[in-house]
Symmetry: C2
């Protein structure tokens, strides 16, 4: 993981925080997500640069190269499903993506999505028969693997399934707080939750435990990828599982995920919501 | 139109440019789109702030409000189809959107989309029977109405059909250069172009003339919104027109537009490409 000069203090700060609190994921999330806010508001901005500065493209002096500039366009291209099928974050965008994820902007961007989802849910007239459901993806939607990715290059390194599964099996992934807020609002409205994930069946127990520890205490269904779907793309697998839900009489009134493959295909739901994820692509 | 302090010199510069060159759209586009680059590279950056500075969220000193900060999240929400159905740009984002559109970032973001589209087109094995087509939207995709919007608040003011149609009827809209580049590449590959627009039939002549003046010299079809589609949403109208194309044996191998309503619905094409547009929403 190669990070540019200005970014190192912030990253070391976060990595130290993650290590120091690895015995308790609820500490992890508080530190991981909230550290920037008190750090900035208490005047550490000279030592730990505010992520807004870090997100600013590095404008060189006149006629100089402006390294990292196109990372904004690359990220927009990814988020709008224009840039697809990529294996790793471009090397030059490692710094940019790291700061985006650990800084406030990722959280602010997620908040806009969650708030729109809440407004949508509140606008609906529900049948009240227990068949109104909302589909949640898990990784980078309900649970957040940032403690893993912050130690493993924010998507710049090729995906390492062994190491990633070791992380998953710790069951320590914190929630994405904005999704947890949406989840709680939906339950209050009487909408049931269905988790639909590409995680395999043999991670059912750890995923259940992790969801509950993270605050997702109840659900109608937790659908993991069974062996019968092996080799299928996420779009095909998730479409077929959503179709089964609708054939059982459920109405998918909302569907949220960090990948377009959570939201495309058939039976996508009344409305879909795309959370940001510049770290990896699943087709 | 309320624009913040730092932005005014740049905007006045652009507005003066537009007025001075309104007799010739080819001058308009050169000035409108390229003025920042020579201005910056020749050392005017002290007088005319580089748009990267302007795009930077206004980070206040500690604990201060950070006005405009959420405009980044709002724009991402719009571009990812999370924020929908809005009538006008939020007042607080007028400054942000204006600078985004007139600055380099809009062009860089458009370039990533066009380049991905070119890569897609080049990856295909074409039948060579003249039935491979690419669907182009017109406004903010092929032709650029920025000279109008720069004088009319960048989408902050409610849509004024009378004034907008007066602008359209001048026939002076420049091309979006990145789309023109894509268009030319597609023609070289033997792909035919179909323009599909929400502009009404009574703007056919001026639209044809404007397209040709802008460099879009040839097309297979130019489909405008006939009166039989009045009252239909863009998604319904465009889906039905694309269906007619496919029933005539055309294969839509690509589809590009600035609105999700250009790209959703049925018969959307082999792949779709979303250009940025934070100025207005069409459902």
């Amino acid at each position: 993981m190669s990070m540019g000069g200005v970014s190192l203090p912030l990253l070391f700060f976060f990595l130290a925080t993650i290590s120091a609190t690895s015995h308790g994921f609820s500490m992890d999330i508080r530190h991981l997500f909230l550290a920037t806010i008190p750090a900035t508001s208490h005047g550490f901005s000279m030592d730990i640069p505010h992520q807004i500065h870090l997100l600013r493209p590095k404008a060189g002096s006149r006629n100089n190269d402006v390294p990292g500039l196109s990372c904004l366009s690359w990220r927009l291209g990814v988020e709008t499903n224009n840039v697809i099928g990529w294996a790793t974050v471009p090397e030059k965008c490692a710094d940019y993506v790291g700061h985006y994820m650990l800084g406030q902007q990722y959280r602010l961007d997620s908040e806009v999505v969650a708030n729109e989802a809440i407004l949508h849910a509140q606008s609906l007239t529900l049948a009240g028969d227990g068949k109104d459901i909302w589909v949640f993806d898990i990784d980078e939607t309900s649970l957040c693997n940032l403690p893993y990715y912050a130690k493993n290059g924010f998507g710049v390194k090729p995906y390492n399934p062994t190491m990633f599964n070791e992380w998953v099996n710790t069951g320590k992934a914190p929630p994405l707080p904005e999704s947890l807020k949406l989840y709680k609002k939906l339950l209050l409205l009487g909408i049931k939750i269905v988790f639909l994930t590409g995680r395999p069946e043999d991670q059912r127990n750890v995923t259940e435990a992790n969801l509950k520890h993270a605050g997702f205490n109840t659900w109608e269904k937790l659908i993991l990828k069974g062996s019968s779907h092996s080799g299928e793309t996420a779009v095909v697998y998730k479409s077929s599982e959503r179709k089964k839900l609708e054939m059982k009489g459920y109405r998918i009134i909302g569907n949220i995920g960090d990948q377009w493959s959570d939201l495309l295909g058939t039976n996508a739901g009344n409305r879909t919501f795309k959370l940001p994820d510049p770290m990896y692509y699943i087709g």
